[in-house]
Amino acid sequence: MATTTKEFTIADASSRASEIEGDVPGETMAINVGPSHPTTHGVLRLMMELDGDVIKKCEPVLGYLHRGDEKIAENMTYNQFVPYTDRLDYLAPLANNVAYAMAVEKLANLEVPERCEAIRVLCCELARISSHLLGIGVYGMDAGAWTVFMYTFTEREKLYTLFEELTGARFTTSYTRIGGVARDIPEGWLGRVLEFCNGVLPVIDQVDKLLTRNRIFMDRTEGVGVISKEDAIAYGITGPNLRASGVDLDLRKDKPYLGYDKYDFEVPVGTTGDCYDRYLMRAEEVRQSVSIVRQVIDKFPEGPHYAEEAKKIFAPPKAKILSSMEELIQNFMIVTEGPQIPAGEVYFEAENPKGALGFYIVSKGGGVPYRLKIRGPSFCNLSILDKLIPGHYLTDITVILGSLDFVMGECDR
């Protein structure tokens, strides 16, 4: 073995490993990260082959959280499945509810009134802010910046108080119904949302100051985990992760639903597709969402919060159930047989905080979907891992995973 000392460069870790006395050149080591590990953000296991500090091979293993949501959906009525959608991306349940309800409405050919659309846009955008606040905060923490997490989590806490006022629950909201939303907005709620909006922007600026030009953060994220434009498209990556790679695709802009075309907002698009860009996308999206929320509240429409023609789907108001026979029968039919949805096939994708959440529904008529497939954006975003991670250092996977901002509940379903 070598007796003379030699200066090693950090850059070439693999050659360094073989120079160290007693180390066999070319021998690799297997290491597992997860299934339960702080950096995997859920139950994800990464089986890796290491040469020194450099990852040679990575195989992601999932399925630890598989609950069979699709099977469950095929055994219950359309209305009953709403609470299950909360548990997909549990960091943005309001947005999931909306995506699911809209898929069924498309199948039932239902138009929701303007006020309902406005409430849903508010739901989606507040959910986006909430999800990104956590995403950025935890990402900062992954890169070693604790303070950011404290700031963003405090803001998210305020948001959850708003959700509680609106839906009655902080976490699993189950707020939308097929053909509308569960209840109208509470009094004075819009004012409090505006107050929150005014408060969140300075926090994002603060995060900006803490992270965007932070030397450590930049060193750890710039040029790390680069996803090229072609790869992003080929792997079906969506959401901020796709746009960071330079693909200008936002379903809110390009396939507008819920009247998103009425609002004026920018879609941030990155250039390099590295971890740093993905952070920038999320920070900018929070600002844009705040602007959308303000525009919605500016011209908040009057009217009913659920579709009149959705009588056969929507449970009647409680007071009427207790006082009128017709309404009681209707409620009974909806609860026992489910809303009668015509036969057909439909696929609807909504731009959720994590990416495009898709619902493919096959109906044979009646109250229960024959087949319901959920396209979880996190699932597709993660599928690139075995290509993305090899070649990076072991410590890089922390920021790479953090930057992809996935939720295993949605990945495994």
């Binding site: 498309k106 695709l249 096939e345």
Partner: protein
């Protein structure tokens, strides 16, 4: 827009038929032409993103399984649904799109796992959500929500659960960790490894 697209596609590929759909354009494509058709979709028609792969089990019908693909064009912003019937009802197979779309890899593994459709040419067709040794495909229609009913339940199960079901085999399931000894030897493993799918359970 959708109408003309269909005419354009049908002019080029005479084996396509229109499929009923409540939203965007949908076509039926025979399984043996799928690769050819999807290659053209990607390279010439701009459907560059494979959003979703799934399958529908039509139960008592034949053909029983239909593979469903959803494509999105990132330039034209239109969706296309392609449906392809599996020729064989007992051992359903479809050609794999992995070489065309990298996204197909995990989606096909998932459909294989839950529906039992084999994708020919897939580089690594293994289960993804269930564990490797799991014997069933849970999204098939004959698989009940609460377990599989048998006329004569295993005695030890009936005693405990009072139900006439056999539980899904747990051998090979990564569920138990002994918790003692060095970490390298406490990898989660099956509770009882004396019998497996291949080796019978000892009778005495």
């Amino acid at each position: 827009m959708a109408e003309s697209d269909l005419a354009l596609l049908q002019e080029r590929f005479d084996y396509l038929t229109e499929r009923e759909s409540a939203d965007h354009l949908a076509v039926n494509c025979p399984a043996d032409k799928l690769i050819e058709f999807c290659t053209a979709l990607r390279d010439e028609f701009g459907y560059d993103m494979l959003m979703d792969v799934t399958a529908v089990d039509w139960d008592a019908q034949s053909p029983r399984f239909t593979g469903i693909y959803h494509f999105l064009s990132t330039t034209k912003h239109v969706y296309l649904r392609v449906a392809s019937d599996c020729p064989d009802d007992i051992n359903p197979t479809l050609p794999s799109l992995c070489d065309l779309y990298a996204a197909a890899n995990w989606h096909e593994r998932e459909t294989f796992d839950l529906m039992g459709i084999r994708y020919e040419g897939h580089p690594n067709l293994r289960r993804i959500l269930m564990w490797d040794e799991y014997p069933y495909h849970p999204l098939r229609k004959e698989f009940p929500l609460a377990g599989i009913d048998v006329p004569l339940p295993a005695a030890d199960v009936a005693e405990q659960t009072k139900a006439s079901v056999i539980p899904a085999p747990m051998m090979g399931g990564p569920f138990v960790s002994s918790g003692d000894g060095p970490m390298s030897q406490t990898e989660p493993r099956a509770r009882d490894e004396s019998w497996t799918e291949k080796k019978e359970k000892p009778t005495d």
